[in-house]
């Protein structure tokens, strides 16, 4: 039996993910998508004026996966994407480690790129994850940022940048 890919998938895991392996697995058996957009978020060694030694990530099991799938569904309603995936890690992470990966596939690039950014902006503000940073002065919970909320606003207006009607008729 040929293994087919899971078209819309949201995963939370402790173990590291391999970017190349996720990409290959995401595209398994697919020959119709001409565009794949990927985003990888990593642990930065510096935040809000302090060195970050490590990051502790926790989440709300059950709700997190549900929210992430809802975000993928919203992206699917809005752009002609054929597949989308989010992989998000929890637990203790060191600087340079990957935290999150978003993949989107479509016949053409604009849908894949826009959907990828849309998913990431919504995850940042809606998915139930919390970060705690370890700094030389002790540990602190990361506060939400106003810039993350304002990033959402650009998706509240109807699309001004691209007309996807051509992509829909072609795919």
């Amino acid at each position: 039996m040929t293994k087919t890919r899971e078209a819309f998938e949201a995963r939370v895991q402790q173990v590291p993910f391999q970017v190349g392996q996720e990409y290959e697995d995401f595209l398994l058996g697919d020959t119709s998508d001409g565009a794949v957009a990927t985003f990888v978020g990593r642990v930065r060694d510096y935040n809000s004026g302090a060195a970050v030694k490590a990051l502790e990530l926790e989440h709300y099991p059950g709700m997190t996966e549900k929210v992430m799938l809802q975000v993928l569904e919203q992206a699917k309603q809005r752009w002609p994407i054929t597949a989308a995936r989010v992989v998000h890690r929890v637990g203790k992470l060191n600087p340079g480690e990957n935290i999150v990966m978003v993949l989107t596939a479509s016949a053409h690039r604009h849908a894949a790129l826009d959907a990828c950014a849309f998913i990431m902006d919504h995850l940042k503000t809606q998915a139930t994850f919390w970060k705690k940073e370890q700094t030389p002065d002790g540990s602190r919970w990361v506060k939400s940022r106003e810039s993350d909320n304002s990033a959402l606003k650009r998706w509240q207006q109807p699309d001004q940048c691209c007309d996807h009607s051509e992509e829909r008729t072609r795919s």
Binding site: H59, H88, V100, L123, Q126, A127, T128, F129, W130, W141
Partner: protein, 85 residues
């Protein structure tokens, strides 16, 4: 009615509790009503929940407002704004 309350992140640490179940003698309970009951318990609930820090609420894993009605046997999660990604 019985309500299970879950605490995440900073709130879980401040209250030193990941979850608790409360029996409340009423048929109509809003989020605000539940918060008042929790604050009445005194510290650490009062200092964590009566602060000006933004509070987010989910009822049965759906985001909810403070005036939302809580159904019987609901799971109510309390947490600060999310910071994933």
């Amino acid at each position: 009615m019985s309500v299970t309350i879950l605490y995440f992140g900073e709130l879980r640490e401040q209250i030193s509790l990941a979850n608790e179940t409360m029996d409340i003698a009423t048929d109509h309970l809003t989020v605000d009503g539940l918060l008042s009951k929790l604050i009445e318990k005194g510290d650490p609930w009062s200092s964590a929940l009566a602060s000006d820090e933004p509070l987010r609420i989910a009822i049965n894993q759906e985001m909810a407002r403070r005036d939302a009605e809580i159904p019987a046997n609901a799971e109510v999660a309390l947490f600060r704004p999310v910071t994933g990604g």
